[in-house]
């Protein structure tokens, strides 16, 4: 009996882990482009707009088959995307306003329909609300196979159109001038994002789906300056977060999978923002500090050189020259001595050979060029 339940649990866990990993992979790869096209919030709108689509699909067909419901969700997401693009093209509404209106409008409609379904006599509607926050534990083997297919299609298309996607992301006007169908390629990319959202609805739900697009890409951007690497790394980070979230939620009872996936990838984003070597805030701060300290030290050496040239490099003269207190001047001279740039001499201090060479080099570098 115990063995049996174990096997069932394993089967469930396997589906959850695989499904979450596929979602992370697809979301990450497409999110890289969405982020760079400054369409991060676009995914959020698509996801929220899927809810009324799901409800309508249920009302029209009475079916609770995931593929039917997700098809409805996908179509509604698509409609929202087209609506936003039309608003941006024909009105002066700024992008964030258009996205905000679309997001809340469609989501409001979705919640209304959901409430209507739950209180009406529509058969047995229980379960539709799982799309709001997702229910990864409910993933079936057939779902995972579907995800794998969608993932394969996505990766293949991104591979085939990689150079075109890169160009329309970086410089759409120039892409048009080369004769590329910029608008159609943009629609293809958006459609792929709709597919990714459909994968995510069952796992993390409409509310948290945007994170699966934006977060892996934002983290990956911190680690590399090449688009190709960013796309792959983003997919990898997304998949890893999917696995991590699924395993974490399985480690104890009453831990939700979707939110844990999102928390995992958020942790990766925070770590990347601070510690990625190229763009991480921590290293940037360290570099700034080091530069500042080095520059201060170099200024000090130049002052010392000036005074030494007049034969009187003493703490008193340094304090006078720099307008600082005597103890501070002593400290400064000590800094220079630690560097091996000055040494005690007959009267006060003098520059060492190393210090002299360094000072001359600095003066040479600072000399204005004609």
């Amino acid at each position: 009996m115990e063995l049996l339940s174990q096997a069932v649990l394993d089967y469930t866990l396997r589906n959850v882990v695989l499904g979450s990993a596929l979602l992370g992979l697809i979301g990450g790869v497409l999110g890289a482009f969405a982020l760079l096209r400054q369409q991060s919030l676009f995914g959020d709108v698509l996801a929220h707009a899927a809810l009324p689509g799901i409800c309508l699909a249920f009302l029209l067909t009475g079916s609770k088959t995931p593929s039917v419901l997700l098809l409805g969700g996908g179509l509604a997401g698509w409609a929202a995307a087209l609506w936003v693009l039309a608003v941006l093209r024909h009105t002066r509404l700024p992008q964030d306003a258009a996205l905000g209106v679309a997001l809340s409008g469609f989501f409001g409609l979705g919640v209304t329909l959901l409430t209507f379904i739950q209180h009406g006599n529509q058969g047995n509607p229980a379960g539709l609300d799982r799309f709001i926050f997702g229910q990864a534990a409910g993933l079936l083997g057939s779902d995972v196979v579907g995800f794998a297919l969608l993932g394969g299609v996505t990766l293949a298309l991104v591979g085939l159109f990689y150079k075109e996607f890169k160009l329309i992301t970086f410089d759409p006007a120039y892409a048009t001038s080369l004769g590329l169908p910029t608008r159609e390629l943009g629609i293809l990319l958006t459609s792929l994002i709709v597919l990714a959202v459909m994968v995510g609805l069952q796992t993390v739900g409409v509310v948290l789906m945007a994170a699966m697009l934006v977060a892996p890409a934002a983290a990956a951007r911190q680690w590399t300056n090449r688009l190709g690497r960013m796309v792959w790394l983003s997919g990898l980070l997304g998949a890893s977060a999917g696995v991590a979230g699924a395993l974490l939620s399985a480690s104890r009872e009453n831990l939700p999978t979707g939110p844990l996936i999102v928390l995992s990838i958020t942790a990766v984003v925070f770590f990347s923002l601070f510690f990625a070597p190229l763009r991480g805030l921590f290293w940037q701060g360290l570099r700034t500090r080091q530069n500042r300290r080095r520059t201060a030290l170099e200024r000090l050496l130049l002052d010392a050189h000036l005074l030494a040239n007049h034969g009187r490099l003493t703490p008193q003269e340094l304090a006078l020259h720099r307008g600082e207190s005597l103890p501070k001047a002593w400290r400064h001279l000590n800094h220079l001595r630690v560097q091996g740039w000055v040494e005690p001499g007959k009267e006060g201090f003098r520059l060492t050979e190393l210090g002299l060479r360094k000072a001359l080099a600095l003066e040479e570098a600072l000399r204005p060029r004609s």
Partner: protein, 254 residues
């Protein structure tokens, strides 16, 4: 007689409820550097974009070398305003220059060794060879402009459109860009260049079009760059220095 590289007839462009370009007729002669000059909002950039089909035309006909755009795209190179893109995009200089070859490569083919060599050559022309693998976010404004120029050069076009290539670039870059333009002209290429600095028009360009929604005047710079034409373009006399006096620079560098 061979047809001119660019011929525009009755071009009108409407943006919302306002004409941006009105009944523009323009013929650009072959093998010259041609400036398009006019005040802000005169429709200079729009003229290029409408000609290249990036902005819908309300009316009008555009011919390149006597043919419609689709048939001669390979012969046309475009240099957009450098501020039109996000320079924090994750890529390096050489990669951007190779984008100039995407049209010729066609679908599904990735740039390879041949493309890289062509891009390096173009970078040499704009004196940026040593920055080939530099991250593009680290470039100065002038260097960004030269990268865009190299991307168009690699297309090996016969007619170039450039949107404010001299805007906000330092002296070194300005000189490098000018050298490239001279090289294009020497090889018989044509360049149509949106320009904003009246001080340098006569020095840089042989052909001048003064634009303010309509074409005010178009022809050899020598006979077109007159106080009267400028006044009709700008609504007042913009260059008191035209008759030899010094001109306060701040007015026209803005």
């Amino acid at each position: 007689m061979t047809p001119p590289p660019l011929e525009i007839l009755d071009l009108t462009v409407i943006y919302r409820d306002r004409p941006v370009l009105w009944d523009v007729d323009l013929t650009i002669p072959e093998g010259q550097l041609c400036a398009i000059v006019g005040p802000n909002g005169a429709g200079k950039s729009t003229l290029i974009k409408a000609a290249l089909g990036m902005v819908p035309k309300a009316s009008g006909r555009v011919r390149f070398f006597g043919q419609p755009l689709e048939q001669v795209r390979r012969r046309i190179g475009y240099v957009p305003q450098r501020t039109s893109v996000d320079w924090d995009f994750p890529t390096h200089v050489l990669d951007v220059v190779m984008m100039g070859l995407y049209g010729r490569l066609g679908w599904f083919r990735r740039p390879g060794k041949k493309e890289r060599e062509a891009a390096m050559e173009a970078l040499e022309q704009v004196a940026l060879s040593d920055l080939a693998y530099r991250q593009i976010s680290e470039l100065s404004g002038g260097q960004q402009q030269r990268v865009f120029l190299a991307r168009a050069l690699v297309q090996d076009a016969d007619l170039y459109f450039m949107d404010e290539p001299f805007a906000g670039v330092d002296a070194v870059s300005e000189e490098a860009i000018l050298r490239v333009l001279e090289g294009l002209r020497a090889r018989g290429k044509t360049a149509v260049i949106v320009h904003h600095d009246l001080q340098t028009v006569r020095e840089y360009f042989a052909h001048l079009t003064l634009l303010n929604v309509q074409v005010i005047a178009s022809g050899p710079t020598e006979s077109t760059f007159t106080p009267r034409n400028l006044e009709r373009t700008y609504g007042k006399q913009p260059l008191p220095g035209l008759d030899g006096q010094a001109e306060p620079e701040r007015v026209w560098n803005s």
